[in-house]
């Protein structure tokens, strides 16, 4: 395993210690941090490795949320509902990916974005199943008396993050990951050396959707109530891209750092500039991208060291 992947697992392990120190607010923030990290890691499979900028995160987040919500309303336990959401998103995204990922660049971006709209409309119109625009109530998770609700969902989301990270690390070290990197660098050459790029992209899209879908399911169970405009929010598609760009495209450790930093910014800005928070957040993001175009991951410890002390040495 590479050093950065070990660092990623250490970072995730540190997050698990949060309940030792945190109050309810910290737990909520921790759950969000894990969710964002799942988004960023998932987006990175198709956006970072394969180089296809997907805006479909919100589509599978919403689909997972509704699948879980509907199943739980039918009396299916949370764990099985989540598994159902995960498998459905995996299979559906892989099938859609085989078609959508024939498009390149802007065309693919727009097509993936329209998935969000299509899914939202489908959910809006399937009133019998989903409650349509009225939203859907989700029963409380039984057994939440043992652990407090907040702790339970924090650990559930953390577990999902760990699973996502392990899968992403496995992918990046595998033939699949090697091939996705080939596709990003030169798709023509990839096909020419015998790489089945359609299959690779379909699997990548499936993997990038399934954990997001499961996260949507956990989110639904956590908040007890979802409606289409909440879970199919385009912002869920945009945020992971910002996180990945901020953290360092392609690097799993980078994008997770990006997710945590993004969440931190979002919280600080929201608390201090509640009136104009999205404006301030936007400006901060632009500044970060301008001055750190290769993301936080480009800030190697050695470079910081040189930056701080290198110039001094020259004067001596």
């Amino acid at each position: 395993m590479t050093r950065t992947n070990i660092a990623l697992l250490v970072l995730i392990a540190c997050v698990a210690a949060l309940p030792l120190f945190g109050d309810a607010y910290a737990m909520r923030l921790g759950t969000m941090a894990c969710m964002y990290a799942i988004f960023a890691l998932s987006w990175n499979i198709v956006g970072g490795f394969a180089g296809y900028p997907s805006f479909a995160t919100a589509a599978f987040f919403g689909l997972g949320a509704y699948t879980t919500g509907i199943l739980m309303n039918k009396g299916v336990p949370l764990s099985v509902s989540l598994l159902g959401a995960l498998v459905l998103c995996l299979v559906l995204a892989a099938a859609l990916g085989a078609v959508l990922l024939r498009l390149r660049g802007h065309y693919f971006a727009i097509a993936s974005l329209s998935l969000v709209e299509v899914f939202r409309e489908l959910v809006n119109n399937a009133t019998d199943l989903t409650g349509g625009g009225m939203g859907l109530n989700i029963p409380l998770v039984s057994g939440s008396s043992v652990l407090s609700d907040a702790t339970f969902f924090f650990y559930a989301m953390w577990g999902l993050l760990l699973l996502t990270a392990l899968v992403v690390i496995a992918v990046s070290a595998s033939k699949l990951g090697f091939g996705l990197n080939c596709i990003r660098q030169n798709e023509t050459a990839s096909n020419m050396v015998g790489l089945n790029s359609t299959l690779h992209k379909a699997v990548a899209f499936g993997l990038s959707a399934c954990f997001v879908g499961a996260a949507g399911g956990l989110y639904a169970a956590w908040v007890h109530y979802i409606d289409p405009s909440d879970v199919f929010d385009i912002l869920y598609s945009v945020k992971p891209i910002v996180m990945a760009l901020m953290g360092g495209l392609g690097s799993p450790l980078g994008v997770v750092c990006g997710a945590f930093v993004y969440l931190g910014l979002e919280e600080v800005v929201w608390r201090n500039y509640i009136q104009i928070h999205s404006g301030v957040l936007g400006v901060l993001i632009i500044l970060l991208l301008l001055f750190l175009p290769h993301g936080l991951i480009s800030l190697h410890a050695s470079k910081i060291w040189r930056g701080l002390f290198g110039r001094k040495a020259k004067h001596v």
Binding site: K175, F178, G179, N181, C182, Q185, N186, T188, A189, S190, N191, M192, V193, G194, L195, N196, S197
Partner: protein, 253 residues
């Protein structure tokens, strides 16, 4: 009959249009095992398109392509690679961020299903050594010179264990020392028994290595035969070689 048994590639009446433009018209051609066929013709004649059509990049609009006795007219590019068709690109197509080693490893890895990354990298070392890039193995492809990138293309194509190898202007843009070096490599491959179809503008190289020459002009095959007949063929002289070349050639005897 024995001729037929050795045939590895056969095109019958292959055409390819690009929205009105006839890049290939009714091309019929066959290549036998062990041959080194030169494919020549003026710019825009359809030489690269012919390779693209055989490899499934731009499938034929009509006609039939068979390879090793199998109809591959509608085959996907990656499938043709796995069958043993490999090619170098006229405009080099490296995986720019990858090292030279990983570029070649990718070719070994994906053309042979079941190959592991580790053994692909081992195989890649041998191919890099063959083209003289072992010293650059860990350098990213983007940092290589054009001549090196051309040789990298060749190493990638060889890592695919080709039965039929297309070389698309491997010498274009190289200086004469580099051309000589590349020509030596091609000779070596031919000696190893790899069937080669090479697109080449340098007649010196074509005459040096090819056992047969096919000439394309405006998408049509206008000549196909032994090198010494082709360079005297009036149609070929007219369309491609030019009077000057023919006269110089005649003067030399």
């Amino acid at each position: 009959m024995s001729e037929l048994r050795h045939e590895i590639l056969h095109l019958s009446n292959v055409s390819r249009h690009f929205s009105g433009l006839k890049a290939l018209s009714d091309v019929s051609l066959s290549v036998n095992k062990g041959e080194v066929v030169g494919l020549i013709g003026p710019n825009g004649a359809g030489k690269t398109t012919l390779v693209n059509t055989i490899c499934g990049v731009t499938p034929a609009s009509s006609g039939v392509v068979t390879f090793d006795g199998r109809d591959i007219t509608r085959i996907k590019t990656y499938q043709s690679a796995r069958l043993g068709l490999s090619r170098t690109f006229q405009i080099v197509q490296p995986f720019a961020e990858y090292s030279a080693l990983d570029n070649v490893a990718a070719a070994a890895l994906f053309s042979q299903p079941g190959e592991s990354l580790k053994s692909a990298r081992e195989a890649a070392r041998a191919h890099l050594a063959f083209v003289g890039l072992d010293a650059q193995a860990d350098q990213s492809a983007a940092t290589l010179t054009l001549a090196m990138r051309k040789r990298l293309e060749l190493a990638k194509a060889l890592a695919m264990k080709p039965k039929l190898l297309f070389l698309d202007e491997v010498n274009a843009g190289l200086n004469s020392a580099e051309v000589e070096r590349a020509t030596k490599l091609i000779h070596q491959l031919a000696a190893d028994g790899i069937t080669i179809v090479m697109i080449e503008h340098l007649m010196k190289v074509v005459l040096n290595v090819c056992t047969r020459i096919a000439v394309l002009h405006n998408g049509r095959l206008i000549a196909d035969g032994a090198p010494r007949d082709i360079i005297r063929d009036p149609a070929v002289v007219d369309a491609y070689l030019g009077q000057q070349y023919a006269q110089r050639n005649a003067a030399r005897g």
